[in-house]
């Protein structure tokens, strides 16, 4: 049987137009909400158009009308069957204080894995410098780190004028953008089943360990800590969290022991990845400011104890924030009860 296409189109056209106008409203105005009656009508129109599509596919095979109906059904399908919550307003403070630390804690084991990989890299870098100082140019291909640490320290401590004068702002934003790019790449390399992320974390660890060993062996511990801690207390955790995000992505791709499909696993972690990366960007903005405006100044301009104390306070506050912020009282009570049971 072939349906009378003209009659069919003439009788159904108004329903399609109704559905199309409702879809236009929903798509163009994210704040638009349907009332219960409108919602029922929308559902009715969706089902009617779906039935029309089925009819036309079976009994007419007229491609243009079918494509038109397919596009309507596809758009309406997305609206009807979507169950994930869509936030209607931005709440940056709530997100920062609650969502970000909660997400971080939800994947804490992955964060420790990220820390572990970096530590292994650091030990490797430190060992390489300790046993073969000639490897410095290979491990740290940065010109300002090639010289003797003691010479650098004495040169920097002799400098009375502000060498970053007039370029502090540019230096700061360059650091922020560069570090953010590295973090994004660390996350994105999670698509290599996490191998790329592991390499990035390991390599970061190698450089960090090599620099630390170089300065420690030269007896410049105080300078090293005063130089790295103020910005490193935010920058290093930021890269570690980016690594955490990359490893979560890699884990979702591999899907150990789970029965969910790949699509579902990726869907489950997508919001967490975005949360972690936005948090990383926030941490790196602060680190960029500190590195340009504080870290590059040493004694006698800023005493080492002041820089080290500042860095230690920052690190403590960050640790406290990530560990405690956004914790619900119920969670605390539950945790307390568990501890009592254990005791």
């Amino acid at each position: 049987m072939i349906i009378d296409l003209q009659k069919f189109v003439a009788s159904e056209r108004r329903h399609w137009a109704d559905l199309e106008s409702l879809l236009d409203k929903l798509e163009n105005d994210p704040g638009f909400k349907l009332s219960l009656d409108q919602l029922k009508h929308f559902h009715y129109l969706y089902e009617r158009t779906s039935a029309d599509l089925a009819k036309i596919t079976t009994f007419a095979s007229e491609p243009q009308t079918r494509r038109y109906l397919e596009s309507l059904v596809a758009r309406a399908y997305g609206e009807i069957h979507e169950t994930r919550e869509t936030p209607h307003r931005l709440a940056p403070v709530h997100w920062f204080v609650n969502t970000f630390p909660q997400t971080f804690r939800r994947h804490l084991r992955v964060f420790w894995l990220s820390v572990g990989i970096t530590i292994v890299g650091s030990l490797f870098g430190a060992g390489a410098i300790a046993f073969d100082p000639g490897a410095k140019s290979v491990i740290m291909p940065f010109s300002h780190l090639q010289g003797d640490p003691s010479e650098r320290v004495s040169r920097e401590e002799r400098t009375a004028d502000d060498r970053l004068s007039g370029v502090k702002g540019t230096f700061s934003t360059t650091l922020m953008t560069h570090n953010t790019q590295v973090s994004i790449l660390t996350l994105a390399l999670g698509m290599t089943w996490g191998i790329g992320t592991i390499i990035m974390l390991f390599y970061n660890g190698v450089i960090l360990g090599a620099v630390a060993a170089d300065y420690l062996l030269a007896g410049q511990t105080k300078f090293l800590v005063g130089w790295l801690l103020p910005h490193g207390s935010f920058e290093i955790p930021a890269i570690l969290i980016a690594g955490q995000a990359g490893l979560i992505l890699g884990g979702a791709l591999i899907g150990w022991g789970g029965r969910t499909s790949l699509g579902t696993r990726l869907r489950q972690v997508s919001r967490d990845l975005v949360t972690l990366m936005l948090g990383v960007a926030g941490l790196l903005i602060w680190a960029g400011f500190v590195e340009a405006f504080l870290s590059q100044y040493h004694e006698p301009i800023i005493p080492y104890w002041a820089k080290i104390s500042f860095g230690a306070v920052e690190l403590g506050l960050l640790a406290l924030f990530l560990a405690r912020s956004g914790r619900k009282p119920a969670q605390d009570a539950e945790l307390g009860m568990r501890n009592e049971e254990r005791n």
């Binding site: 072939i2 296409l5 599509l53 009308t65 397919e70 609206e79 990726l266």
Partner: protein, 267 residues
């Protein structure tokens, strides 16, 4: 069984309705990206010029803000455009492409952010080589970013309603004088055969003259083999007109108002 890669994604709804989405290929997507790149360049240069005025206050401040603004434009362009235009950027809009959820659901903000952040890997080592290869291999033409975000890029060609009025109305149809044979024709012709005939008529002007005659001869011959009308029904009409009459019978069950009482001679 090995699944064959096509440019169409079929989605089956819980109601049992199947609809198809036309997937965009790597070349179209690359062109859209080139257009977007031009937009990013133009926007960055405009913002740079405007913010350069801050140099009157402080050169360092102006340069710092320009570096930051260009970075934000570079990263945020795709995210903001795709969020506000529901899966489209300027390049995608011009080439009628749209990012969609792979299951046909509404696109989420997190999906947009992930597919845009993972561009960093797709770009490697240069000119989207990783992304392009992934797109060619993937069954749903996804680059790595799409894969992680569970998104696809579809092509939405302009959808027009069929102009059947212009095609079918207003002509005398000699085959309608034989209602029993017309009914038999409607019964024997499959929807696919009917579609072939309709498409041949809709696209008749795109054909070469010789090809057009041969095609309609073949289609008419096929319909004649299914139902044979008396010779007087075919008298004086071309093969193309015969197919037009058949399509009129297949797609319109009733006489149009103007032809309710046919008296005129065959067209």
């Amino acid at each position: 069984m090995r699944r064959i890669k096509t440019n169409t994604l079929l989605i089956k709804t819980p109601e049992g309705i199947v609809f198809s989405l036309l997937l965009a290929g790597p070349v179209t997507r690359f062109l859209a990206w080139a257009l977007d790149l031009a937009c990013i360049g133009a926007l960055s240069s405009a913002v740079g010029t405007l913010l350069g005025l801050l140099g009157l206050i402080s050169f360092d401040l102006a340069r710092a803000i320009i570096v930051l603004a260009c970075f934000i434009i570079q990263i945020g362009y795709g995210i903001v455009m795709e969020w506000f235009w529901r899966g489209q950027t300027i390049g995608k809009r011009l080439l009628r492409l749209r990012v969609m959820d792979a299951q046909g659901l509404r696109l989420q903000f997190s999906q947009i952010v992930i597919r845009n952040l993972l561009r960093f890997v797709d770009l490697l080592p240069a000119f989207y080589l990783v992304g392009g290869v992934a797109c060619l291999i993937s069954r749903r033409a996804q680059r790595l970013g799409d894969f992680a975000a569970n998104t696809i890029v579809v092509r939405n060609p302009k959808v027009k309603e069929p102009d059947l009025d212009q095609l079918l109305a207003g002509k005398f149809n000699s085959l309608r004088q034989y209602p029993h044979l017309s009914a038999r024709l409607r019964q024997r012709v499959s929807p696919t055969e009917a579609r072939v005939a309709l498409q041949a008529l809709l696209r008749r002007d795109e054909l070469d003259a010789l090809a057009r005659v041969e095609l309609f001869e073949e289609i008419a011959g096929h319909f004649r083999s299914l139902v044979e009308f008396p010779p007087e029904a075919n008298e004086g009409i071309t093969e193309e007109q015969y197919v037009r009459n058949v399509v009129d019978i297949l797609f319109r069950s009733q006489w149009p108002n103007r032809q309710e009482k046919p008296e005129a001679a065959p067209a």
